[in-house]
């Protein structure tokens, strides 16, 4: 109903009204004021800026140990990424999706989780998976096409990552619903990309999580690109966090290259969930510095300039300035840590090489709890084929 100040009600007007409707409706800007519904706002957060300056009032003031642990994890993630690429180029690794430049987004989102919480990632999640306890050699196995790599480390509630864009977000929501139903305090973090935001299943998940007040933290990793499609073509809104509002989900847009911002936002989201208040949407604004996957050639569709500009926003560099200024770590430490990570990764590569044995006789396993007879028959036929070929 329009506000009374703007227009006057009457019981019947007597003016002659011969004009056609298409004419009488005045252009939007000439309209009298009408009543409107305020949509509110979303938070926009940065704590550690591109220059490594910190917003003191917002600094979570983590302990030295924590800060060191986080730093090491970011470095490890990057080194792992680089090593994987080298292995891929040398033919020892399958197609994989590098997370270069997204280390802060990755680690920040899982930082507030404990082992009993759930983490349901997309495929570009090395940093978060390593933080959660996935092994370096396990991830290598997985991307090298060995099924064993999908074995979930004992003791943590993680799901296999999802290859089908957005398809894991509804199951993740179901995990949150189940936690709520059982009265557990666990929360669920699930991540997905700007591209994934176009999937209907993701919008549906927003709605279910919101209706059931499920403790789900939706981390929308806006890294600017979905393969060759820039975020500007993916949606008509610049801030993907706006989506949450339409479903009644508190939403925040964070500088995803700011590890402190990511931690604070994720913590806030986790607290919200644990308090029984339902889901939270965290849009992490970051950038895919590398190829989409090793099968992709970004030169075809994006300018080097754009990538250059983002180099200045590197999440590790700015965090190192912060650590250096705080007197926690110095350049020598950074070099040492880099080397230690490298060494660990090379060690893992040896383990991977030792484990990298295809097990073709396993392909029928793990499908059903008990193999039905008709499948056993197919398996026997398949084994006969392997026998014939002399395959173990």
């Amino acid at each position: 109903m329009p506000t009374k100040t703007a227009s006057k009600r009457s019981s019947g007007t007597k003016q002659s009204a011969q004009r056609r409707v298409t004419e009488v409706v005045a252009p939007e800007n000439e309209r009298p004021m009408r009543k409107t519904i305020d949509l509110g706002d979303i938070e926009d957060l940065q704590i550690l800026n591109e220059e490594g300056e910190v917003d003191e009032a917002l600094d979570p003031n983590l302990s030295e140990d924590e800060l060191k642990k986080i730093h090491r994890a970011m470095v490890m993630t990057r080194k792992f990424d680089i090593r994987m690429l080298a292995m891929q180029r040398q033919g020892e690794m399958g197609t994989f999706a590098p997370g270069l430049g997204q280390e802060a987004t990755q680690i920040g989102q899982v930082y507030p989780l404990n082992a009993k919480d759930w983490f349901s990632p997309s495929y570009r999640s090395f940093g978060a998976q390593l933080w959660r306890g996935w092994t370096l050699d396990g991830l290598m196995l997985l991307w090298a096409g060995y099924y064993e790599g999908f074995e979930i480390p004992e003791g943590i509630n993680d799901t296999p990552f999802s290859i089908v864009i957005g398809s894991h977000v509804l199951p993740a929501t179901g995990l949150g619903m189940a936690a709520k139903i059982r009265g557990d305090k666990s929360v669920v973090v699930t991540n997905f990309g700007d591209g994934a935001s176009s999937q209907g299943a993701v919008a549906e998940a927003f709605n279910f999580a919101s209706v059931y007040k499920a403790p789900v933290i939706f981390v929308l990793e806006n890294n600017g690109w979905a393969i060759s499609i820039p975020a500007e073509k993916q949606a008509a809104v610049r801030e993907f966090a706006r989506r949450g509002a339409g479903f009644g989900i508190p939403s925040i847009r964070v500088d995803g290259n700011d590890i402190l911002g990511m931690i604070v936002a994720s913590q806030q989201a986790a607290d919200h969930g644990r308090a029984g208040k339902g889901p939270y949407l965290v849009e992490a604004v970051t950038y895919r510095m590398s190829v989409h996957t090793t099968a992709d050639d970004p030169k075809v569709y994006r300018k080097e300039d754009e990538v250059k500009a983002w180099e200045a926003k590197c999440p590790i560099r700015r965090f190192e300035i912060y650590l250096r200024n705080k007197g926690i770590l110095d350049d020598a430490d950074f070099e040492r840590i880099g080397k230690e990570c490298e060494a660990e990764i090379l060690e893992a590569r040896e383990k991977f090489r030792a484990r990298a044995k295809a097990k073709p006789r396993e392909v029928f396993d793990y499908l059903y709890t008990e193999m039905p007879p008709e499948l056993k028959e197919q398996q026997e036929e398949y084994f006969r084929k392997l026998d014939r070929k002399g395959v173990e």
């Binding site: 999908f150 979930i152 398809s167 509804l170 179901g174 209907g200 299943a201 279910f208």
Partner: protein
């Protein structure tokens, strides 16, 4: 033993499973306050509360997708899809997560869930309310699919499906929902998934049907015996995937002739698969080509014409006579 319709029998199975295992929970559109559009879930909300009987928003993809998550958590969700035609909305979640999560997680997350959906024609419904697409599920690795044909086996099969550690598509022949009553024992009753039932023994011709088609098939079988001297062995398939190949092969090895009755479209259907298996395993016993009395490869017709589309006893009898006439 009380006499029950299939709807009542299904309600009983759900009730008893929920009673004995608090991980069992229901979800779906209009299943709570309204008790389900077919009343299969009637009274269960009152008895078990909102956490275990969830009236959901209108989104099948969400219903199946979140049920998968709930199963990963250790619950035993039994989502209802209001009509099987709307399982299409959830196809991605069915194929990509419900069927695959156990495998993808190397057994860490078994998906013990049952997707219930009324299917099939014969209730004078509008478009998309009469489909039979069990072949989709049979073709999808990782699923099981069962279809009861009467109140008693509906109750037992539903219990078996809920107890099963793996994901089961539970297709309910809605034409049978209230069509007749049967004795259904009070105490919980189950049956093995993957086993067909010889509903009628005979020596001349094996007839295979499931779900709502069991009624015209059984009627035809009786008439064939009474009026045409053809002794039919009638098999109620019950489990579409896995399929009880052994029972089928044994019967056809005895009779040498086979007729399959289904309401689904014909191409790449369950009937096709039965023929393929008999060809492989009972070839030397086959006296005549196996015949399909089937739905056609067209869109299920509007309801004023559905009775002509659906296989009926007469058509089954004609087809059986054809099979018998082959020398």
């Amino acid at each position: 033993m009380p006499q029950m319709t299939m709807v009542q029998a299904l309600n009983l199975a759900l009730d008893q499973s929920m009673e004995s295992d608090d991980r069992v929970c229901l979800m779906g559109e209009d299943i709570g306050v309204n008790g389900g559009v077919f009343r299969v879930t009637q009274n269960l909300l009152k008895k078990y509360g909102e956490n275990r009987v969830m009236d959901t928003p209108l989104a099948e993809c969400s219903i199946i997708g979140t049920a998968v998550g709930m199963a990963m958590y250790g619950l035993k969700p039994v989502p209802e899809i209001q009509f099987s035609g709307f399982t299409m909305q959830a196809f991605d979640q069915i194929e990509q997560n419900m069927a695959r999560m156990r495998n993808r997680s190397r057994g860490r997350y078994p998906i013990s869930m049952v997707m219930r959906a009324p299917y099939g024609g014969g209730i004078r419904a509008v478009e998309h309310h009469s489909e039979s697409r069990e072949a989709y599920w049979a073709h999808t690795p990782g699923l099981k699919c069962v279809i009861p044909s009467g109140p008693r086996n509906a109750r037992a099969l539903l219990k078996a499906a809920i107890d099963d550690p793996d994901p089961v598509v539970f297709y309910e022949p809605k034409a049978v929902y209230r069509a007749f009553k049967e004795d259904v024992p009070d105490e919980p009753e189950s049956m093995e998934i993957g086993k067909a039932k010889v509903a009628r023994e005979g020596n001349d011709l094996t007839m295979i049907a499931w779900g709502a088609m069991m009624r015209p098939a059984a009627e035809a079988a009786d008439d064939l015996a009474d009026l045409h001297g053809i002794d039919v062995e009638l098999i109620d398939l019950l489990s579409i995937k896995p399929m009880d190949t052994e029972t089928i092969v044994n019967s056809v090895s005895k009779t040498g002739r086979c007729l399959i009755v289904q309401e689904a479209p014909q191409t790449c259907s369950v009937a096709s698969e039965i023929i393929a298996r008999l060809n492989e395993k009972a070839f030397e016993y086959l006296i005549a080509p196996i015949k399909r009395v089937s739905g056609y490869d067209i869109i299920f017709p509007y309801y004023q014409t559905e009775q002509h589309y659906l296989p009926d006893p007469d058509t089954v009898i004609e087809a059986a006579k054809d099979v018998m006439a082959w020398e």
